[in-house]
Symmetry: C2
Subunit: 425 residues, 2 copies
Amino acid sequence: MVPVLSPEALAAQGVEARATYARLAAAGLKLDMTRGKPSPEQLDLAEGMLALPGNRDHLTESGEDARNYGGLQGLPEARRLFGAMLGVPPELLVVNENSSLAVMHDCIVWALLKGVPGSAAPWVGQDVAFLCPVPGYDRHFGFCEGFGIRLIPVAMREDGPDMEEVERLAADPAVRGMWCVPTYSNPTGATYSEATARRLAAMRTGASDFRLFWDNAYAVHHLTENRPAPHDILGLCAEAGNPDRAFIFASTSKITLAGAGLAFFAGSKANVAWYLEQAGRRTIGPDKLNQLRHTRFLRDLDGIHRHMEAHRRLIAPKFEAVLEALDQRLGGLGLARWTEPEGGYFITVEMLRGSAKRVVELARGLGIALTPAGSTSPHGKDPTDSILRLAPTYPSLAEVRAAAEGIALCIHLAALEADGLERAA
Amino acid sequence: MVPVLSPEALAAQGVEARATYARLAAAGLKLDMTRGKPSPEQLDLAEGMLALPGNRDHLTESGEDARNYGGLQGLPEARRLFGAMLGVPPELLVVNENSSLAVMHDCIVWALLKGVPGSAAPWVGQDVAFLCPVPGYDRHFGFCEGFGIRLIPVAMREDGPDMEEVERLAADPAVRGMWCVPTYSNPTGATYSEATARRLAAMRTGASDFRLFWDNAYAVHHLTENRPAPHDILGLCAEAGNPDRAFIFASTSKITLAGAGLAFFAGSKANVAWYLEQAGRRTIGPDKLNQLRHTRFLRDLDGIHRHMEAHRRLIAPKFEAVLEALDQRLGGLGLARWTEPEGGYFITVEMLRGSAKRVVELARGLGIALTPAGSTSPHGKDPTDSILRLAPTYPSLAEVRAAAEGIALCIHLAALEADGLERAA
């Protein structure tokens, strides 16, 4: 991967890199690029929500009191608004509390303890496996690991997971589910192509109760003027004769307020009935005042898009700063490649095999916190030790630039070390 | 149970009761006494919360941004406030979303799939039974029924469950838990005595991982000037050498806003660590803005007590109206007895065996909705068919009075029918 350079040229690079590292280390940075958290300025965009719904404003559009118990599926106006956002009919959407992760967790525990529509028996006690496009999202893996579900990695491409591999593996009856982040995938930013979505909807699966865990976390989180519409995965599954195949998840955590948003479940009629039956034992109903707060503030799909454009104005420059810093130090060296996402929250960097852990360690020496190497793979173990996920949204633009320069430097240094010349020197 | 009356006297009662029933039926009432819901006037008491935390007010007392992710255990100030309410140290309290039912559900699914501290294995696949004081709360039973947990009824007394029976049954290793509503129990209103709490904390159990599911739903929901402090069940369990025995649950659903309150989990250090480990896979954190909203509004324990006095002024007259109506028609007849609760949300009426279903049916004929007969027993089956739960908080005072008069009448009629005279006539 490294182009042939003369020993002298390499040595000169090493001298410069080590000097820069020493200078940065002395600067005592304290930068965090670990998690996909909105910045305070992004949260300020939802400032208007902090005093909503407001005095005496507690009636829904049908005149019900949003303060009281009930309304398990969510307010019709909230389901209409977020159904439009996700390309799902309101009657197939459920509005939950603040965490889509929690909604996924609950689907998994209910699948384990009760089974899903189409299950011959509850999943617990059986050999259950999920397909995981890698690089992927550590918290998706976390549930499965916690509940003893086997994780089978599948390579992630620019148009979604490697479908040849997916189709081959899904034929195994033990494979009951698959994690998908179809739009601006966490962490590569790749968006599934229509063809990928169609193949996922139509493929033959060994298990009759196989589910796509379709986490559309970044459906409207565009970084460019393009606004690809979400795939109509429910329609595609129905068309292919697999109407109950997809569980859709999403939230407003990165639209309105990270800790105080709304989370959604959507699925076929049978899946929604199943979900509501389980959820109805768990709770008397969701926080409908927070649903009013959201509908009062965002109003309609245009309101959501306008709001997301304000996010874009804040975060797109941070993504650009990272890409610039990577390009400036590493461009043309052949030591690393990285994604240039058109949406979502992450940039993924692939560096020389066996060097990601070292890069995290070197960055720590500069006061830059990175997500642990391996966290984009099941069980936190990346066999290639080459993938890092960068999350540029939370720090300020100046901090992001400084962090990205530091990270690019560490990738460079680790590559020079790996080349053997630096270690020997 | 019925005092000896002359056939003539009974016939006269029957003539009057049937005439009154016909008159009421013609009035076309539409009254709902089914669920323990706060009235709109009670929700108005929390009106001030609808515009909280308010513009730019999103920092916690330690200066953290309550809008963002994180803070799994809840804000320290919220834990202090509600820890004081429940008699639990803040470090042993967890603040969750809006539903204590959901917290209980999650504890059960995690116990099933992972086990609790002290479990030799996850509960799933084993014969698992819970003790249920009866009359009890249908939603408690609902989980267990849904997940195949056996429910063993135990008689409820004025000072808590029949402890002889509880101790005998708890010796069975299959018995892994027990539902307890220690203060103003749902639905009898009974408060466990100190002696009962001590025996529950200290009793020998067959299972090493036995848990009291201690649902302190009505800890501060007094209907009189008396304010019994919550039992220190964590302290009693620790003292008895069973430090991990109690899982405490509670919420502000009937303090602030029924659908938009906060729910709590509390337990020993080991139980809290276990809970947070599971919850940390399920969610990145709770809605901390709602926690700020609550601490800003209620401020301190005095604030909670003042707020609950305002509730009392609204609902105590409704309880009195029910008791008056029952006494007026049924007093001295020996046809029914009822609780006179000093707190909580319900009045329980015990009528002649085999007549509760008929009373519900008769009431329906008057346009009065009652919780189905049997709902206070596991599986909705009351073998005595004699218990009804009345929930007087939601309707207006005039409606409650009308409903209670109607219900008393139906109890009377059903008893006359049961006596055979009316059916024969």
